[in-house]
Amino acid sequence: MTSEPRSGFRYISRKRRPQEDRRFLTGQGRFVADVDLPGMKHVALVTSPYARARIRGIDTSAALGAPGVLGVLTGDELARATDPLYTGIHVPGVRRYPLAAGEVRYVGEWVAAVVAEDRYLAEDAAELVAVDYEAQEPVVDPEQAVLPDAPLVHVDQGSNVLLRKRWNWGAVAEEFAAADHRISYRARWHRSSTVPIETFGVVARWDESAELLDVWASIQMPKFPDHLANALRLPGNAVRVHFDVDVGGSYGVKRGIKHSVLVGHLARTLRVPVRLIEDRLENMRGGDAHGPDRIFDVSLAFDSDGTVRAMKMRALDDLGAYAGRAPLQLGKPVGAIVGPYTIRAVEYEAISVATNKTVQEAVRGFGQSPTNFAIEMGMDRIARQLGIERLELRRRNFIAADQFPYLIPSGSTYDSGDYHAVMDKVLDAVDYPALVARRDELRREGRLAGIGIATCLEPSGGNSSFEPLLNTRNETTTWMDSCMVRVDLSGSVTAVMGTSSSGQGHETLLSTVIGEVLERDPDTVRVVHADSLNALPSNSPVGSRMAIMLGGAGAGAARRIRQAVVAIGAHNLGVSTADVEYSEGAVHVRGTPERGLSWKEIVAIAHRKYHLMPDGMEPGLQAAFVWEVPGGGTLPGDDGRVQMYPCYAFEGHLVLAEVDRETGLISLRSYVVGHDCGTVINPDIVHGMTYGGVAHGIGAALYERFSYDPSGQLVSQSFMDYLLPSAHEIPDIRIVSHCTPSPLTTFGQKGSGESGYLGAPAAVVSAVNDALAAIGLEVNEIPLWPGALGDRIAAAEETGTGTAGNARAVPWAGPQ
């Protein structure tokens, strides 16, 4: 790691141990599975073995008679008692309930739920639920699903195409006509996800006397309590979600709304506390937590000097059986559709297609990483075609430091950046000529070695603008977050946040920024997670937003405390607030340090001595702050131009890979990533997320895939076949930090929760293609498994052509 960026901060950007470490490293985390309520009962699920089938009938009698069983719930019953789950886009023919009603649409879809004394008995009884299925022809291939004669996943919707939007930003046709060169290519990102160690879990208890549903869930979802109450047909204040539950990993996927509606309903109707903890199989096939599954067809227009003038991109996403978050994940990339480049005109078509597969959920980057992968593949192709060194090509196209704020064709303004500087730093740190020499040495030994390069952006500060962009019925223009800071009589500081955390270190974040503003030791600041009834509004940690949004809210509340302290101090010192200085909580007359009041004295005045308070000031010492997304508050234009997110972090990857010519096995020899996310609040946390993000991206590039067979069976339901990278597979990763502060945020911070993941898949593929160029082979789909790659290398060496077996390249055909 290179030296940290210098900062003028007291606590921010300093290397400090995250507050949460002690709890987690000593096994003291409190996860949903640790919530053990007296009399709690357990749910097991009956799930569909078919990709598509009509449910002719369900016989629950044997299960109801089994030992320890309290109840069996079917989809028809639940659909009568609840409202459909919220769908982000307008598809009235797609109604989604926790349990399938009438028809199953993917393998693993829940059909019935059994509640019993323990999970063993529940599973015993679940086997006795007899479901009479009439299997039907499923639709599995997304390119078949768009055809008019394809079976319909939702007959009422009339089409499998649930979303099709096309925008044209800039003079695309003119740029294509004027350019020296044009290329078209396909990039295929197969279905993977984030797969946390902790599966989704939820416990619910209905208090009949209070008419209140208490919920503990491993949740990372905006507006979860509202959605839950709506589906259960309860007023919002009849649902209390406890946010003090540690979430064992998420990066987007912990949105168990269907789990929670089901369990909430069961707890309410059975009048017992009910718990559902997904097992791994349930999580993999029916947790509705798969990630993007995309086919990109891209055309680029560029000049002989390497300048990329325009891009046409069509992204077809196989969203699975229900809309979920998948269509919206085609919307977010609009905000960084040109990556870090000065591409002047873009045509973008987003198509979401329903198939008989598991539902997608939000996944780290919300669709940005696949898009980056597709763009970067084009940059490499242009470089190869023109014979320009690949990094040099990118540098020629980078937005320059003096061009910020920079408006991209799709309407978002990038806040700040210095991409050239970051890459200079990376090249210095890694000794690029030595890396090239190492690659060439491997090549001389007869090996297939390559260097991969990827540069891309992390849009951050999530504001959900993709919702109004893709659904005109949705007029969301705020995506606020909040914090309340209290100073108690003893003078200690407590901050209250209104959402749960899934490993992002929010307690460290909040305590650090509050400590910074109040000049108090952050380790003395306690951070608590409210429940949804006493929390200020939050939109949860999505879209790399918490450093910006929760950090901004915490700082805002702390500033109000600081102002109150200054006001009380000045009042009691008999001077104006302009004439006092605040220092580490104490206040003294400017220039006269001996004339002052200590923190303790001021706190005591606020809490006990109202007679010493300035007129009109409320007693106590507390402040709430609700922070709106910087630059938020406007709806997208009719042309689809939108300020997607406020802040844009940058990352540049450089990786050395070797491909075993005979086995097709890829090994990564060296990995360095340059990262600029503005002001870093806590370096360990940011670096930890970046390391994990790179590993996650390597997983997407080389290992992880939810594989379906032609009949719609998910054939990778366990970790035998869904390959998560382990420490063995991840090389040493070196992070080179740079800081270009954002002008829009409290301390210049940007988001970082998706860092690493956004560029790693592109970088790994870039390295592999650099290696394979020696035998005239190019790959364009991930993950790259040794079996398939080995077959292609063998074919290429036999026939001398390298494109056999590639995902078919389809030239841009324009509107259809």
Partner: protein, 162 residues
């Protein structure tokens, strides 16, 4: 998960004998691995139950077998479907019986199966091999059945049990 299987096997019996046996639910009950019962529910349609155990992995299944497109004694198609606790399967197979000699018949078979449910979700790596093994076991059991029957028949001729 689609599984293809094909091969050939030569039985030491005349074609008509093999044909008769292949159409005899009693014989199939004995020779189909794990078969615990077979009941005729229509012309050439049988309901079967299986308790299948391959190494540690096992379960009970119920299903249907239908024989179609018969060209006696040379050709027959078979359609199968079944489901049980750990998964479900459908399959179709075609058998051709060729006379090798008066006392030998070669069976040439091709088939495809489609397996779903848990066993496809977690067992894809070995399903192909297991299918091959079960097919072989069916053929060798039938072989042995025919041989035993021949010995018994021979016994019948030579002695006269009371």
């Amino acid at each position: 998960m689609e599984i293809k299987f094909n091969g050939e096997h030569t039985f030491p019996v005349p074609r008509e004998v093999l044909w008769t046996h292949l159409n005899d639910p009693k014989v199939l009950t004995v020779c189909l691995p794990g078969c615990t019962g077979m009941e005729q529910i229509g012309e050439d349609v049988y309901e079967t139950s299986l308790k299948l155990q391959v190494a540690s992995v096992g379960g009970t299944f119920t299903g249907k077998i239908a024989l179609t497109d018969k060209v006696e004694p040379a050709e027959c198609h078979m359609q199968m479907e079944g489901s049980g606790t750990i998964g479900h399967a459908t399959g179709r197979a075609a058998f051709e019986l060729e006379e090798v000699s008066d006392s030998e018949t070669r069976m040439v078979y091709t088939g495809t199966g489609d397996v779903g449910g848990l066993v496809a979700g977690v067992g894809q790596r070995v399903l192909g091999g297991v299918t091959k093994y079960l097919t072989r076991r069916f053929l060798t059991t039938l072989d042995k059945y025919l041989a035993d029957e021949a010995v018994a028949a021979k016994g019948d001729g030579n002695t006269n049990p009371s």
